[in-house]
Amino acid sequence: MAALDELTTPAGDDDVVGGVPARLVAAPRDTAEAAALVTAARGLSVVIRGGGTKLDWGPPPRDLDLIIDTRRLTGVVEHAAGDLITVVRAGTPMAELHRLPGQQLALDAPPAATAGGTVAANASGPRRLRYGTARDLLIGITVVRPDGTVTKAGGKVVKNVAGYDLGKLYTGAFGTLGLITACVFRLHPVPAASAFVRAAAPPGHAARVLAGQFAASALEVNAEPGAEPELAVLLEGTPAGVRERAAAVAAVLDGEVSAEPPEWWDVLPWAPDGLGVKLTGALSQVPALVATAVGAGATVRGSAGTGVLYAGFPAAGTPPGSSPSSASPSSAPPSSASPSSASPSGASPSSGVASSRAPLSASGVVEAGRAVELLRAAAIRAGGHAVVLTAPAGVRDTLDMWGPVPGLELMRRVKDRFDPEHRFAPGRFVGGI
């Protein structure tokens, strides 16, 4: 068995997670080498790095010895077009999966994000209304467990109920249960035609679209202090069908049909050093959630069709929670991250709001804490949750980023079984897992 020093290199200046520097880095080439590495790394604390696009989100690790980088675990192993499935290595960039010939992995994620990172974060974007999230599209998975055991779950067929659906367990586990080395996804055909409908309309009008017969692929809201809220709808299908439905949606919302999405589509509403919160709630509560968040000074975007929203507060200086107009800088035009192609999958949800402010002041810390409390209370009332995805360095430590979680005790028991020494991403997950 290879020794640790053959498989790792000393960490460099950039090998830092949430401000915590690593000692060692490794980039295994295949599942076997990854298993050897994890076996040799017994006793070390580990964080997995995919594209690193969101690695700093979430709480920092309690300890960090080794970063396992999936950048060499790349490539589409199989694309069975007739079966609408693909087998990919975990480090494969999402950009490759967005443009398989004639087909697509219908998951909105930044092009530089990896398949493994997208699954580990259960990422999603506007099109979740039609296609679901990573948990719905993952049909098989290979994982190296913290003790070095290589294990698979699921398979290569969409319909399969043999044994526990452990793919669901690893999806959204943020690397706390092991290293994902390969994923099998269900694919969808690229639709023959698509169109957007854009309207200046209150979030409450989203219900009109849901109640109609439009089979929308995405139904997004954008609202910010001091500006009129907007709705945008994506329709996909046959050219004639899309034309007809787009016209009907435009009539219902008093909006316009457009080939392009609005510039805010699939762009998270905060700057790199801003405060970003994911808000969920029952569909009928979306308008109330949006109103609360905007009232607190946030820009709010997300899926009014599924009840998953993202609230972003201006980067710094201006305390959130003060009067709406004081937060208007958050409505600054998006940066280069705005989508350039007509394809929504090409859009990047990475930060699009320009930031030019100084770090948060002490009062900013207090205000951020209050804003999170306010949003969390609103989300719980709405039947959902508020999770702080990212926060400025100064406030991060003061916030309960995950908030209360039902079933936490069972989750701890799961973690104890899979990673008894709590070495994988220690402290990064719910309840300090």
Binding site: N122, N160, L166, G281, A282, G384, R417, F429
Partner: protein, 486 residues
């Protein structure tokens, strides 16, 4: 008082005398599920009427180390609800309340004993329905659907139970009531909801289910296409998918299945067909109409000698009648049969159907095929006569060979009926020891004492805390009588 008598007394005091059955005659009602050749009479049946009572029963089991098995409507086809001889069967048939229907949130909240079709009936007046539609939907329970991750003819487009359940209340094997998921999607933390679905009663008892409601489609169009052979029908299926069409359902029946259906329900399918396809499209009218023409043309191009389009709901029902009655109908042409449930990649359909035919011929056994062609979920019906010596064994052999074909082609040993008691022994053909050990890690997190539906799903249960590695001799769970290996 010790053992089961003590437990019975404790349960009678806890949940009421008439909700605890110990009379052997009464217990016999529950001796099997839909896979009737496995029979075990439970030591005790509990019929709780509230989630709190379910928790009380499970706590009593935990306290006394008594195994328990949940049962919904008992329609399962893998022996999942087969009772434990020394255990408690917890029957959910008195938990039948539809708690809430909230079309504005696209959700309904129901108790686990609620019948699948009743959710749709409650939602339809609001313009919604519950999408997963197992053929047994008039009798099977939502709790059973959750445990089996049940599918239906329309899951090709709409997905399975797991894609339509957003929240659960479960009683864990130590008797705690825990909420998993909720109304909103993406509950933070591990997706324990996602792993509970499909866990076949081995992680606890679901006591409340929050389901997603789906908007009733504007248009439904159904086509019946008759082909000379299953090869042609398979090729047409592949062509439809390759064209980028995602029908709500694509179902196939072969000549023998058609013969059975004709004998039973006179569905009037085109004479002389070697295979029929039922293709259903639903959604906005503008989409469906364009795609329907494409599907018809593709069927004709791949050799369909007759296509029929349902003009109205009555004609649609007629087309589906043959398909939906097929399992039962096979009883008309054979005294006994095994319903197999395997999955293959759709593109392997023609090849695997041919190989099934060869295997069947080789053993002198007839196999009728009726299945979900769109997602490659085969339901070969292996016909035999138990009265004729040797036939049952030969049917078993063919049935097992079919599963091997599925695995060989990269498929699965079960697409919707579950592993239960029936297929536990096949799990090692699909998964390595390491894979099965990993599933045990989850099991042990929920159920360290192995009391929830022991002996199901896994071939060789290990005690939690035991080190993985080669297993030798009798398993401790076996020798202590906690688990039997069938």
């Amino acid at each position: 008082m010790t053992g089961i008598d003590g437990l019975a007394a404790r349960l009678r005091a806890g949940i009421g005398t008439q909700r605890v059955l110990t009379d052997r005659q009464e217990l016999r009602t529950y001796e099997c599920d839909g896979l009737a050749h496995y029979k075990v009479i439970p030591a005790l049946v509990a019929l709780p009427v509230t989630a709190a009572q379910v928790a009380a029963v499970v706590r009593a089991c935990a306290a006394t180390g008594t195994p328990f098995v949940a049962r919904g409507s008992g329609t399962g086809l893998s022996g999942g609800a087969l009772p434990h001889a020394d255990g408690v069967l917890i029957v959910t048939s008195r938990l039948r309340e539809i708690v809430e229907v909230r079309p504005e949130d696209e959700r309904a909240v129901v108790q686990p004993g609620v019948i699948n079709l009743d959710v749709t009936k409650a939602a339809t007046p609001h313009g919604y329905y519950y999408a997963p539609d197992p053929s047994s939907q008039q009798i099977c329970s939502i709790g059973g659907n959750v445990a089996e991750n049940s599918g239906g003819a329309h899951c090709l487009k709409y997905g399975f139970t797991t894609n339509h359940v957003t929240g659960l209340e479960v009683v864990t094997p130590d008797g705690e009531r825990v909420r998993l998921g909720g109304t909103a999607p993406d509950t933070p933390g591990y997706d324990l909801l996602g792993v509970f679905v499909g866990s076949e009663g081995t992680l606890g008892v679901a006591t409340e289910v929050t389901v997603r409601l789906t908007r009733l489609p504007e248009t439904v169009r159904t086509l019946l296409a008759a082909f000379g052979s299953t090869d042609q029908a398979g090729a047409a299926t592949s062509a439809i998918i390759a064209a980028g069409v995602v029908p709500a359902a694509i179902e196939m029946m072969d000549a023998l299945a058609i013969e059975a259906a004709e004998a039973a329900v006179h569905c009037g399918y085109p004479a002389g067909a070697g295979a029929v396809l039922i293709v259903e499209l639903d959604g906005p009218a503008a989409e469906v109409d364009a795609q329907f023409d494409e599907v018809s043309a593709l069927c004709t191009a791949h050799g369909a000698f007759e296509t029929r389009v349902a003009a109205d709901d009555a004609e649609r029902a007629l087309i589906w009648r043959g398909r939906k009655s097929a399992f039962a109908a096979v009883g008309r042409i054979s005294p006994d049969y095994i319903v197999q449930d395997g999955v293959i990649p759709r593109t392997a359909l023609p090849e695997v159907l041919r190989r099934i035919g060869e295997v069947a011929d080789g053993h002198g056994v007839r196999v009728a095929n009726v299945f979900h062609a769109g997602d490659g979920n085969l339901h070969p019906l292996v016909l035999f006569d138990a009265e004729v010596p040797g036939q049952a064994e030969r049917a078993e052999t063919v049935s097992a060979a079919i599963l091997d074909l599925c695995i060989e082609h990269g498929g699965s040993i079960t697409g919707e009926h579950g592993v239960g008691i029936d297929k536990a022994k096949y799990m090692p053909r699909m998964f390595t020891d390491a894979d099965l050990d990993t599933m045990q890690l989850l099991r042990c997190a929920f159920d360290p004492d192995g009391l929830a539906n022991p002996g199901k799903v896994f071939p060789t249960p290990r005690l939690c805390g035991e080190q993985p590695g080669r297993r030798q001799g009798t398993h401790p769970l076996q020798s202590s009588g906690v688990a039997e290996i069938f």
